[in-house]
């Protein structure tokens, strides 16, 4: 009884009703308004096929990837308050995050393990879609978007890998840069690609700022836009794949 009165007090007023125009979603129309009346939810349909919510079908892998992307965005912005992309400062900023900044180590750990997790879960999501035949018509295009999102995830992770400016970062990026340098014809194409990526001949200040800008602005924006397209196309292509109905 008391809970009911509290609920009444909280929801039966002009302020609450100005935000949530529908009442408690206890019928189908109000339930549809929960979705259509909310900017963040309305990319989803009001009704979904029962197969869509079958945990054993999707295993939630795509959604987990998306959640990790959200967590990475939030923790990444927090880390940006402390990190300065300079070869003199970067490594010390990492040490500060670890030992001086309140909860700095937690945010760095969330960001690092979240990034590894995102690479793994995007890959697992691709495996799920393949093994259930979800890439087939009419979802061919969305499968292609997904493959590009996997590559973007790899590049997001790679560009972030350099930022701590430790031995692990420096030599990993040196290897990848040398790999890019083998694009044929090596003397022309490979060398210039390597130059573009590093902004020089070795991994130095120019490479660090390039990787930083790619990591915190360019790639996240492109990925966010493509994630939007990816979700929108799920609806346009008839929802998540499911067995043909008898």
């Amino acid at each position: 009884m008391k809970m009911n009165r509290l609920w009444e007090l909280l929801t039966n007023n002009r302020f609450y009703k100005s935000i949530f125009r529908h009442g408690y979603p206890d019928d189908e129309i109000k339930r549809s308004e929960v979705v259509t009346g909310n900017l963040f939810l309305h990319i989803q349909p009001v009704k979904v096929h029962k197969n869509t919510i079958r945990t054993g079908y999707t295993l939630g892998l795509g959604l987990i990837s998306f959640y990790l992307f959200i967590i990475l965005t939030v923790t990444g912005v927090l880390l940006m308050f402390y990190y300065i992309p300079s070869i003199e400062r970067a490594y010390n900023d990492m040490k500060d995050l670890e030992f001086a900044v309140s909860f700095g180590i937690i945010f760095r750990n969330l960001h690092r393990w979240g990034a590894h997790g995102m690479v793994a879960f995007v890959f697992l999501h691709m495996c799920r879609v393949f093994f259930t035949g979800g890439y087939k018509s009419p979802r061919e295009f969305n499968w292609g978007i997904g493959v590009i999102l996997l590559i973007l995830t790899l590049f997001l992770s790679l560009t972030g890998y350099l930022l701590p400016w430790d031995q692990l970062a420096f030599w990993a990026i040196t290897i990848v840069a040398n790999l890019i340098g083998t694009t044929p014809p090596e003397k022309i194409m490979g060398a210039s690609l390597r130059q573009v990526v590093l902004g020089g001949t070795i991994v130095g200040q120019n490479a660090l700022i390039r990787f930083y800008v790619m990591h915190v602005v360019v790639l996240p924006l492109v990925a966010a836009a493509l994630i939007g397209v990816h979700f929108w196309r799920i609806r346009k292509d008839g929802g998540i794949s499911r067995p043909a109905e008898e």
Binding site: E28, R31, V34, K47, I71, K136, G144, T182
Partner: protein
């Protein structure tokens, strides 16, 4: 219910173009069961999504409280670790570098794999077995993809755990220190 009873409940009106066709016995209205076997997103889908988010966040939080992200010595261009390794997701490519000219493993294979992946649905057009895990009708496609996964993951495992100084093969428990 016979016809007579129906006309009593719903008398025929000659001024209307519609009328009662039939009364049938069912348990109830089609509550929670849309015309195409659908359910409303709220609460069925959105609630599950919320639970999953909490699960992901809690799991990641626990991992982050138990394990610290690696941080080695400050970058030093004059001190090359042996072996220097790429991030784990690129170790499959680095492993292939050891076999032939780096172009083949580092550029050619990933480019071709990406193109094949994107084009797969345009060649594999059969609609059989869609929506079913490991459908028997899709045995060949699933087999090919499994081979791809085993190769990709296998190369990463070899690169991560079995390659030591000078990119020589070592057992993981025999691995010399990289410095």
């Amino acid at each position: 219910m016979d016809k007579k009873e129906e006309t009593v409940i719903f008398p025929k009106n000659p001024n209307k173009t519609y009328g009662l066709m039939e009364l049938t016995k069912t348990k109830s209205f089609q509550i929670e069961k849309g015309p195409d076997n659908t359910v409303t997103s709220w609460p069925h889908l959105l609630f599950r999504e919320l639970i999953l988010f909490m699960g992901v966040f809690i799991a990641l939080m626990i991992i982050s409280m138990v394990f610290n992200a690696p941080l080695e010595e400050q970058a030093n261009p004059s001190n090359t670790p042996n072996p220097a390794k790429a991030p784990w997701y690129f170790l499959g490519l680095q492993e292939m570098l050891a076999w032939a000219h780096p172009f083949w493993g580092g550029i050619f294979v990933p480019t071709v794999v990406t193109i094949i992946l994107i084009l797969t649905p345009y060649f594999d057009t059969s609609q059989k077995g869609v929506g079913v895990w490991f459908a028997p009708e899709r045995r060949i496609a699933n087999l090919l993809f499994t081979i791809f996964i085993v190769l990709a993951v296998g190369l990463i495992v070899v690169g991560e755990f079995f390659r030591g100084p000078n990119w020589q093969i070592f057992w993981p428990w025999n691995m010399p220190s990289p410095h």
